[in-house]
């Protein structure tokens, strides 16, 4: 490459994070620090029932005895949990907004900048319903009425606690127990809000349910809690999208997502994650330490995770499936992109318990700059899982010669009838490929984007249409300036 080109690539890399702005809204935040009183105060402000307060406290006490996990291939300085504020709710002029007109206009403007015009979405009859989470409190829910008629509950987690406490109590923490791991315990203690979705027996949710998360107030940890339940024969496709305003301090995002699929139920959970990755020297950016797990409880149930991870300074995330029901199916499709100083340690766990269970893992890791990208996956075939099958494919792509790709597959088989396959490849975008594209009129950015999108095609085709388009664009933006 010529020197002039390197310069222009650097300029591209230095491009400001497109979504870096701060909304000037008065937040009613709690002071920084974490102790039992703070946990109680969060619960009080949210007017939660006593059992939930106790549940949080139990998690908090467990968390205090736990230690930060260090097995992942990521590096970061110790987090001072006492320096974080655990609750931040945007002040509303009216307590409970009944329609979008009542939402703080500045807030709506933020969404406009992020490209999620709620008004338009509401008008775009029945394409996606958005339960938008701003900081910690859910501010707007669309299409709720329509869904209610079918018996589908789609609301913020706080609302669910108020309106459907029996469902929350029945399922909360049954997939990911409070003591599951360090960050899940922390989330259980201080979770502020999130989304709740319940699809009753035999109902097929007619639209993609969609939630957008955002981190806004400085130094506010964000602790979402999502619970999706599909009863017997139900179907739901759930989309989660993230973009976060720019911050210099690292921000902690420790979410928990629990999915429950009963007999013949199917849950499709798709994520496009674009939290602020930090600048190119590794300053700032989100720590994305997320616990996601689904339980295929009923026979013939199916859970699919699809994720496109382009953001965050550090990603630590393993959306998993516990295949308990006979003939149940677990799927994991992942694209993880790391550029500059980003680190990602991501993968999945497929735990086979029931007979004839099958799982598929397709993971595509892309590293550029000085980034490190690890796939870490566990396939466990339990003694009761007769005729279980797994197929795993882990492909890595390297752009440049200063980045790294790592694969850590764990396979643990305790039943001789199991069939487990693992394939892995590593490729590098070649200069000859770039030149070939250049010679056909495509500039280097376009060429990289084209080649990378081809590499990720198997995953993108699992995404709902409108998400797939967004994901392709994001990939292009994330890798801008990565070839020099």
């Amino acid at each position: 490459m010529k020197i002039e080109d390197e310069k222009s690539f650097d300029e591209l890399t230095d491009k400001e994070y497109k979504y870096g702005f701060v909304t000037d809204i008065e937040s009613e935040s709690l002071p920084p620090g974490l102790n039992e009183d703070i946990v109680r105060e969060i619960s009080r402000r949210k007017e939660e029932p006593e059992w939930l307060t106790e549940w949080r406290l139990k998690a908090f006490r467990a968390w205090q005895k736990m230690e930060t996990p260090e097995w992942a291939k990521v590096e970061f300085p110790p987090i001072d949990y006492q320096a974080l504020s655990y609750y931040s709710a945007p002040k509303q002029k009216i307590d409970a907004p009944k329609s979008l007109d009542e939402i703080d206009p500045e807030l709506l403007e933020t969404y406009e900048k992020l490209g999620i015009p709620l008004r338009e979405q509401e008008m775009l009859a029945g394409v996606v319903a958005v339960d938008a989470v701003f900081d910690s409190v859910s501010v707007a829910t669309t299409f709720k009425g329509k869904l209610e008629e079918m018996g589908i509950i789609f609301c913020s987690f706080s609302e669910a606690v108020k309106d459907h406490p029996e469902l929350v109590k029945q399922y909360l923490g049954t997939v990911i127990p409070t003591k599951d791991n360090y960050f899940a315990a922390l989330n259980s203690a201080v979770f502020s809000d999130g989304s709740f979705c319940f699809v009753p027996k035999g109902v097929r949710c007619p639209m993609e349910l969609s939630t957008y998360f955002r981190i806004n107030a400085a130094n506010t940890g964000q602790f979402e809690r999502t619970l999706v339940i599909a009863e017997e024969g139900a179907y739901v496709s759930y989309l989660e999208g993230c973009t976060a305003p720019q911050r210099d301090e690292n921000q902690l995002h420790a979410a928990v997502v629990e999915l429950v699929a009963l007999e013949d139920a199917q849950i499709k959970y798709s994520t496009v994650q674009n939290w602020y990755p930090g600048d190119k020297n590794g300053k700032g950016g989100i720590y994305n330490f997320v616990t996601k797990r689904g339980h295929c409880r009923g026979d013939r149930s199916k859970i699919s995770w699809t994720q496109v991870e382009t953001g965050s300074a550090i990603t630590w995330k393993y959306p998993s499936c516990v295949l308990k029901g006979d003939d149940s199916v677990g799927e994991f499709y992942s694209v993880a992109v790391t550029n500059n100083m980003q680190q990602a340690d991501t993968g999945t766990k497929m735990i086979h318990v029931g007979k004839n269970t099958s799982s598929t893992i397709i993971s595509k890791g892309i590293s550029a700059g000085r980034a490190h990208n690890s796939y870490r996956g566990l396939v466990r075939i339990g003694p009761t899982a007769e005729n279980a099958r797994n197929f795993s494919q882990c492909d890595s792509m390297l752009i440049g010669d200063r980045c790294g790709a790592h694969t850590f597959p764990y396979i643990d088989v305790s039943n001789p009838s199991a069939q487990v396959e693992h394939e892995a490849t590593t490729t590098k975008i070649g200069e000859d490929q770039i030149f070939y594209c250049n010679q056909r009129g495509l500039d280097t950015e376009e060429a990289v984007s084209l080649i990378v999108n081809g590499f990720c095609k198997e995953v993108f085709r699992e995404l709902p249409m409108e998400f797939a388009v967004e994901a392709q664009k994001l990939l292009g933006i994330s890798l801008e300036g990565s070839v020099g």
């Binding site: 080109d5 030149f435 010679q439 056909r440 495509l442 084209l450």
Partner: protein, 251 residues
């Protein structure tokens, strides 16, 4: 004004001097052939002209349509209408030939200030052009050059050329690895694209290709220099006497 004007061009690869001052002028509508033995600099010339950054221009000038080529990056040269049919077309997994071509066609159209083709319009153009090189439908659906036979790759290059409608096309040993039938199809495609506005530079080792693509001028390249130029009959002369006679002269 010449379409392509090469003046005293010198170039090196990995710090080894390969081109030692090439002069060549191609007018619109002309077909020039460059013939030369292995290692004479044929591929270096085509790569330098196309802007491959592994090749360094160390002296001289190249004007394309009046513009100094050294000022343009490879993709800008392509958009300006310079096309290279590769000797070894590159495979790109996961991207269909069709999708790749659509991106390329639209990048070039945008540069020309023409409107982007939508999927339907693009298919119409494809229908039109694919007859030229008798390219099979399934090759369009497959990933770019992936699993193509040698002949299919070369045919695909000519098909891309037909789609991109360049002002100046360089064919780098397009005949290598082709059997006689494939050679004829490729040559027919090139001949169909000959026009009073378009220039061709056909680089080849053998005279055989020039029986099908009849050049206006033939140049003999030896040791990075053009040592003799003439009409199409020069190719026959070479066929008869080989390059040896010239190799002495060039040193």
């Amino acid at each position: 004004m010449a379409l392509l004007e090469i003046i005293e061009l010198q170039a090196q690869v990995e710090e080894k001097q390969i081109l030692n001052g090439i002069n060549l002028s191609i007018q619109p509508g002309e077909v020039h052939a460059i013939m030369g033995p292995n290692g004479s600099g044929k591929s270096t010339l085509s790569n330098v002209l196309a802007g491959n950054e592994s090749y360094e221009q160390t002296g001289g000038n190249v004007l394309f349509d009046g513009a100094d080529l050294s000022e343009l990056d490879a993709h800008e040269r392509a958009r300006a209408g310079l096309f290279l049919a590769f000797q070894y077309p590159v495979e790109i997994a996961g991207i269909s030939n069709m999708y790749f071509l659509k991106a390329a066609v639209n990048a070039i159209r945008e540069h020309r200030g023409e409107k982007q083709l939508d999927a339907m319009e693009f298919l119409d153009v494809i229908e039109d052009k694919k007859k030229l090189v008798k390219i099979r439908e399934d090759l369009l659906e497959r990933a770019v050059n992936s699993g193509f036979s040698g002949g299919e790759k070369k045919r695909n290059e000519i098909f891309q050329m037909a789609m991109l409608e360049p002002k100046m096309a360089i064919l780098d040993e397009t005949d290598s690895g082709l059997d006689i039938d494939a050679l004829r199809i490729v040559a027919d495609g090139v001949n169909a694209l000959r026009s009073p506005e378009r220039g061709f530079l056909v680089i080849t080792h053998y005279q055989r290709l020039l029986e099908y693509i009849v050049p206006d001028f033939v140049h003999v390249l030896v040791n990075g220099r053009i040592v003799k130029s003439g009409g199409k009959e020069l190719a026959l002369e070479l066929e008869e006497h080989g390059y040896e006679a010239f190799e002495g002269a060039a040193v």
